[in-house]
Symmetry: C2
Subunit: 285 residues, 2 copies
């Protein structure tokens, strides 16, 4: 057994970037002291979810890599000797921006980054306005604890993304996300959406025999354009094992973190018993 203890952080964000960072830092301190080696933060955790509206002023929230956010969290990764997976609004140059997740090593160095490949564009989620489509492909990132398969939010609805990341050698799939309810929908519709979101991500674990970590935002954020009634981010972050079994999960109200430990040898065992990869019809896909 090769055991790995991991954590997911779920928080509400405000317009105060420093306050958002400090809150993350406190949770990181707590889970690091509990012995976790890998910590995942939610999508765009430095800011509010600014994509609810199309506003050119929001491009000033973008930052370079390395830059303010990577430097802040690099110091924490080094201080606590943990791997941090963070998420930010990346500026490559004026006019070219990405929705990017970055892996910081235990020594504070940047291990690699992933640029969101599937970009949504719906009422309340105007991401195609802000982000170019990811150009780095589905490449897991090598770290001192194994290869991490990063995917971001909307990517979670695409089994292709999980599969290609697994084929690249990922040992864990990680999804920083920001998804929530439109409270004008019925309770039943809201519950169906949450169940679908949980089920599709658990299915990526099952299809690829990989543990899955999901960090989602919580709290209400109004829509500055008043186009929608704002988003109630539904939290419900979770960690599941390589057969999609729930190891830890939370609700839509609790700010904080989840901790789960998994056996990194489990993937190999399952792949020998359930040899899905052997039987893919690559001649037909």
């Amino acid at each position: 057994m090769r055991s790995l203890k991991t954590a997911v952080i779920q928080q509400q964000c405000s317009h105060d970037i420093n306050a958002n960072h400090r809150k993350s830092a406190e949770f990181i301190r707590d889970v690091a002291s509990a012995g976790t080696e890998l910590i995942l933060l939610q999508e765009l955790h430095s800011t509010v979810y600014f994509c609810q509206t199309k506003n050119p002023d929001n491009f000033k929230l973008a930052e370079t890599i390395p830059g303010r956010t990577t430097e802040y969290f690099s110091r924490l990764a080094k201080k606590h000797h943990v791997i941090l997976v963070i998420s930010l609004f990346e500026k490559q140059m004026d006019g070219l921006y990405y929705n990017t997740a970055v892996v910081l090593e235990k020594d504070g160095s940047i291990a690699g980054k992933y640029r969101k490949m599937h970009i949504p564009d719906d009422p309340g989620y105007h991401e195609k306005y802000y982000f170019a489509h990811g150009d780095l492909g589905f490449q897991p990132i090598q770290t001192s604890i194994g290869k991490l398969g990063l995917l971001i939010c909307w990517d979670q609805w695409f089994p292709e993304a999980a599969r290609l990341t697994a084929l690249g050698g990922a040992e864990i799939l990680l999804y920083p996300t920001a998804i929530g309810w439109d409270k004008r929908e019925t309770e039943k519709t809201q519950q169906k959406e949450l169940n679908a979101w949980q089920t599709i991500q658990r299915s990526h674990a099952i299809a690829n025999h990989l543990p899955v970590m999901v960090a989602n935002r919580i709290g209400f954020e109004p829509d500055p354009s008043h186009e929608t009634s704002g988003i109630h981010f539904w939290g419900n972050s979770f960690i599941c094992g390589a057969q999609g079994e729930m190891l830890a999960h939370t609700d839509d109200k609790t700010e904080g973190y989840l901790i789960a430990e998994f056996d990194m040898e489990k993937t190999k065992q399952l792949r020998h018993i359930w040899p899905f990869f052997r039987d893919r019809r690559i001649d037909q896909y």
Copy 2:
């Protein structure tokens, strides 16, 4: 709303083909009289699951299309004016056999067939010995009630199969299956396997916004080779809606059928709200 009432049949099979057919016929009569238009039978429902052992004598169970089983069920389809999806061991010629599902129209004609594309080969499931890999691709079958996306058992673990069938225009996904427990495994392991099986198939509904119908065999069948301790087929057939929500499901003990009705317009509505197909990165797959 364009409503469709459907049924799934789950039964135990014996070595008596006539008895297996008669049992299916009784269930078909019952669900047809309840007003269903589309009825799905489980994988290889004419026989025991003969793939537990490699025995050349079993090739005599194979049959042509049209042949004994299609003729039997064609008469029932016409008699009850229903669409039947049946499953059989297809003989193309001596030495070339497939695991095939056939769609029979309300007038008893053959609407089309699907040959299992992903063939398992594990202790207790020696399918690569009996079946050539399907050569017809992932092509849904046009019927008087819409396009049916047939997939068979092991296909259920491959999101690629569901996706390609959906891209071909399928309006429903149907899985005849034969899967069960090795009772030497712990209860916990058995439950994890069942949950994974249910979750992965519900995820195909979610990823593609299609209802999913699953018919699984029940009952214990010994392994004639004594290589394994035999298979306890776990039943648990179900029908879920286009967001993966359970509409009807059963357990591992009850022989019989499930009935569920769904709105065939739901797929279009969901695809406009959650436009996954628009955002696939076909340049990167």
